[in-house]
């Protein structure tokens, strides 16, 4: 169904069932209560005269991982096992993304982590990069330089083509010889 702009009714014109079905039934079904199916979802705009529900997603991995990667890796071994956490959401072009973790880095290095969108780590290869990109992990990354056990995180507004978005947490370290550990790794996404 689609929204139809209500007409102006005129006295003496017969009110037809077709009019009621279009302007009352069908339009009612396009309103918030007509679209709502599940509790605690956001009602957002899908376009001109279109609204719908968006389901948020959140997850946490309490396990501790250790990385010695220089770049922002999402896969921890040759068997394609992910570090995680990973979430997939459906969105209309914007997602509010929160991420944090307890971070410890070894002397001489800096732990860095951030969201990787649809597997695109192209900015991650250059830790010194300040290139602006919505898929840039480097520019968005939370990091710890020779700090121990602090909870650090970041927030960003992802913008992109509407549809499904997969978000992985990517991890790296600035110094080749350094390692970093991460625990209680949280990722929350609120799509619009």
């Amino acid at each position: 169904m689609v929204w139809t702009v209500p007409i102006t009714f005129v006295d003496a014109d017969p009110l037809t069932a077709a009019q009621l079905n279009v302007f009352l039934r069908d339009n009612m079904l396009e309103t918030g209560p007509g679209k709502a199916t599940t509790g605690a979802r956001l009602l957002t705009t899908f376009g001109v005269n279109q609204i719908g529900e968006r389901q948020w997603a959140r997850t946490v991995l309490n396990s501790t991982i250790t990385t010695t990667n220089k770049e922002y890796a999402v896969i921890q071994d040759e068997d394609d096992v992910l570090y995680g956490p990973t979430l997939t959401v459906e969105h209309g072009g914007k997602c509010l993304v929160f991420y944090d973790a307890n971070v410890t880095s070894t002397t001489g290095g800096a732990a860095m982590f951030g969201p990787v969108f649809d597997g695109d780590t192209r900015e991650a290869a250059n830790p010194a990069s300040t290139v602006n990109s919505n898929v840039s992990v480097t520019a968005k990354a939370a990091a710890s330089a020779r700090r121990s056990g602090a909870r650090l995180g970041g927030i960003m507004l992802y913008t992109g083509e509407p549809g499904l978005l997969r978000v992985d947490m990517g991890y790296g370290s600035i110094n080749n010889s350094s390692s970093a550990t991460y625990s209680h790794r949280r990722l929350s996404i609120y799509p619009f």
């Binding site: 005269n49 800096a110 602006n132 710890s144 927030i155 509407p162």
Partner: protein, 180 residues
């Protein structure tokens, strides 16, 4: 147009004026009638009134510093979002890499706060503060729910920076505004 409290219909003639008020005009006050964009959301603007809003953001990735011990914009024009439409309240969220470049100590911190220009000044009460680490590796993030602003379509929300002493540096800043 405005919302009309629905009447209780009774048997008899249904005049066009009732249909126009109860059906046409009220339908035009609902969310799908007001939806104009993708990825927006709705808030109440008063009694029986709603409006579409959208999350806004701006980024600034260059490195910069300040020696000011009171809050300043720190970069020309500031890291700001203009013309924020809201109903008197908004949530600002910000994040930046930050560190004290000179005179670091346990009591000297780099500070990032936020203001609604001309209405609510930036304050330490909601600032993100840290001594930071080498080369601005530490990312801090903060938020503040600004209230009592009065409805507006022209407010500016801006990140503000200061140092405790010496010079503090900042980079990779992002400001997000969630208008209500």
């Amino acid at each position: 147009m405005a919302w009309n409290a629905p009447i209780t219909f009774v048997n008899g003639v249904l005049p066009a004026s009732q249909l126009n008020q109860m059906l046409r005009d009220n339908m035009n006050e609902t969310a799908p009638a007001k939806a104009m964009n993708v990825a927006g959301y709705f808030v109440s603007t008063g009694t029986n009134a709603i409006a579409e809003r959208e999350v806004l953001n701006t980024s600034y990735y260059e490195r910069f510093g300040t020696t000011s011990t009171s809050y300043v914009a720190a970069v020309p024009g500031g890291i700001a979002i203009q013309n924020v439409a809201h109903s008197g309240s908004l949530i600002a969220l910000w994040t930046a890499r930050m560190y004290v470049f000179s005179s670091p100590s346990t009591t000297n911190t780099a500070c990032v706060s936020c203001e609604v220009t001309g209405k609510t000044s930036a304050a330490d009460s909601w600032a993100t503060r840290t001594v930071g680490g080498d080369n601005a590796f530490i990312r801090g993030m903060g938020f503040h729910h600004f209230t009592g602003l009065g409805a507006s379509t022209t407010d500016q929300v801006r990140m503000m920076f200061r140092t405790g002493a010496g010079q503090s540096n900042f980079s990779n800043c992002e400001l997000i505004v969630f208008p209500l």
